[in-house]
Symmetry: C2
Subunit: 428 residues, 2 copies
């Protein structure tokens, strides 16, 4: 079990969607005093068999609805992939399609011990409904650009989705500097000031993006956006691969989050984010999978290994970044970036968003160091329970969501047939 | 099911340790004719439920006995890690210790669909016994260097372990150029000529190693070893990270295998192997995990993603290397490098070394392209059956090996306590 950074043997009690107690198992007086009839009645008791309970992973950048495009057009140059393969299909997707495709993503998140995601995609209402339906936590972020959504829609979603369900919230955001006009960006910065709210966006993902912004405005995306007052109330960037020391200084000074997406940056050949520079400058780092078209899986274990491994490769230094630091990025830092202040650690009063890791599988033996085992050797296979808001949604390979996987697979296959065409029997 | 490169719906029949039939399910005349009483009696029939049967992964470079040192001393500079942490513990290991530690590795291999490994470590006899005991296939390779083993021992193992058990074989090899004197290397090259046999070794893993060889002999390790006649009968190198065009030309001309180990090269900050250069030059590439102290897990799915992802990063080209090519490296090429000519593909007469991949988990949906799903989204979680030599050793999370995991964990924990010391309760 985890409390802050420590691991100890004990018990966690859950009531409703919150953690009631974390400790060695003695009943505290205040809890005993309020028990009806002074006795404790449990709905369910789970023997953890010396396995690890820890906070669920926070996937701090994804586009859930892109499950349709997994393995659809890989191993192509970035421009051809995006403009000729991805965008034409996305243009045909309906809100109902994205509802089903997001539900497919939820199943996958649960198998990787992800209890909340930071989702940016096309149809916020239907995405929120999908997560509500599946019982999973979702923080959405504005995806406005010159071609879809609008500042008015972002404001409307900000006002409505933050009060719709305990599982949903919404943050200000826009797609990226390179897909938004200056006036559009000024309107988003205006919303940040109006609501004193943080803003998130794709930032410095590719060399081309940075070069384009320099050409347009004579500045890096970070410097340009900061100059608009975009980050006066915090927020941060997804990817943050091609960053200057001045960019990093701005992030440090403004308390911004760098959400790193190493799987996607690797597969799309975008580069390696300067994670060690972020850490040195005190910039908080969180981790996201990015969408399933660019990764292609939604697996925080793979991302954690990539964060630490690519940092070592980049610095040519096997001692670069410590495993425990990466574990914090994937849990505590993600929660904080996403505004989920009650989903960061396992403590009384916090949300019961937690997972159980099977320490009795061979990749977790011996137990020289459990955090290092998790980051270097851990796999989705070790996730034997995923709980969101006190409800077990996945346990020992079985989903306890409102909808069965088979039904979701059937529906997403139909969407695939409608938008892409039937998969041939020999689909190589 | 896989036959060569294709995927089709059908059946695979197994008799003894071999595949009897692969096809649509009609009984061929020659098989029918030899049936006793002209009827087929199956010991066991498995409904694959439209899941994928494919050849097991071949882990083409590992040091199984190093499981003890997983998470023991990570995030340290390479020299400190190796000389001050790893070597002192290894010096204390007995053959019996390595027997148990290798059995622990076998459990992990099975969970990742690995059906055979190419193992280089300290005590070949006890390692072979461990694999025999667990029912798993193991090709060992000589690890001789200035400090342990000898050419005589390599020759003795070559003569004995190649005839001991259908699951074991042994190839000529030595640890590395930098740990062997010139006269020792000449003796190994002599054995290669005596037996007309291929030789494998660690090769060009780090910049330092190549610089050292240049200083000693004025040549790269590849050029120097080739000049000794080391590879006149084939073989290859593990790692092969820092290779000149001339090195690659030698490999191509001699038909050598480059066994890439991206997880280890990443974690130890050694660099990115020039996989696209190998492919362009026609050098055959296989994939290995390296040992669990330097990776730290024994997971071919992670390695496959790293092979393709790091190639794209290195070339700054998202189209570098195709997923199907990587799948071949992890199966067919590995088998060929290891001399397992009958364990490469699923065909009648080949060894029944195969695995079942659950295509009904969310990371495998939709099925736009199954090979790409495997390489980009696949995980150990998808491995629901691992069969070696016709015997199911792992199915749906349960091990059917001769020894239970609990017993092996207990024994390896005792070795840890003996060699490293008791793990504190709060082992962070």
């Amino acid at each position: 079990m985890c409390e802050g950074e420590g691991i100890f043997e004990g018990e966690i009690w859950v009531r409703g969607d919150r953690i009631l107690y974390v400790g060695k198992g003695e009943i505290p007086d205040d809890i005993y005093a309020e028990m009806p009839g002074k006795c404790i009645i449990w709905d369910k008791e789970i023997d953890c068999k010396k396995n690890l309970l820890m906070p669920g992973f926070k996937n701090a950048h994804t586009h859930s609805g892109m499950t349709l495009l997994r393995s659809f057009a890989d191993d192509l140059p970035l421009d051809e992939w995006l403009n000729h393969k991805i965008f034409p299909i996305e243009a045909k997707m309906t809100a109902e399609d994205i509802y089903e495709l997001s539900r497919l993503a939820v199943l996958e998140y649960l198998t990787s011990g992800i209890t909340a995601v930071f989702d940016m995609y096309l149809t916020p209402k239907s995405i929120g409904e999908a997560f509500d339906n599946m019982g999973m936590r979702c923080v959405q972020v504005g995806a406005v650009n010159n071609f879809s959504q609008s500042p008015e829609m972002v404001e409307e979603m900000y006002q409505t989705l933050n009060h719709k369900s305990p599982l949903q919230s919404y943050m200000l955001g826009f797609h990226a500097e390179y897909t938004c006009s200056k006036s559009l960006l000024e309107q988003i910065a205006g919303l940040a000031h109006k609501y004193k709210a943080p803003v998130f966006t794709h930032l410095a993902e590719t060399e081309n993006e940075v070069a384009g912004c320099r050409k347009r405005y004579g500045m890096t995306p970070m410097a340009f956006l900061d100059g608009l007052g975009m980050f006066d109330y915090g927020g941060g960037g997804y990817h943050c691969v091609h960053m200057t020391p001045e960019d990093i200084e701005i992030m440090s000074r403004k308390g911004l989050y760098a959400v790193t997406n190493p799987g996607s940056n690797t597969k799309l050949a975008s580069g390696i984010a300067p994670v060690t520079d972020f850490l040195k400058a005190g910039v908080k780092v969180a981790i996201g999978t990015d969408g399933p078209a660019s990764n292609n899986c939604l697996d925080m274990f793979r991302e954690m290994f990539l964060v630490i491994g690519l940092a070592k490769l980049r610095e040519k230094d096997a001692s670069a970044v410590d495993a425990l630091e990466v574990l914090k990025m994937a849990t505590v830092n993600g929660a904080k970036a996403m505004g989920l202040k009650d989903a960061d650690v396992l403590e009384a009063g916090k949300l019961a968003d937690m997972i159980m890791i099977d320490l009795n599988q061979p990749n977790m033996r011996p137990q020289n160091n459990i955090p290092k085992n998790l980051v270097y050797s851990g796999s989705k296979q070790n996730v034997v329970m995923t709980m969101v808001g006190g409800k077990i949604l996945y346990e020992n390979g079985v989903f306890y969501t409102n909808e069965k996987p088979e039904v979701i697979y059937q529906k997403t296959d139909s969407i695939l047939e409608k938008l892409i065409g039937k998969i041939p029997d020999e689909n190589t």
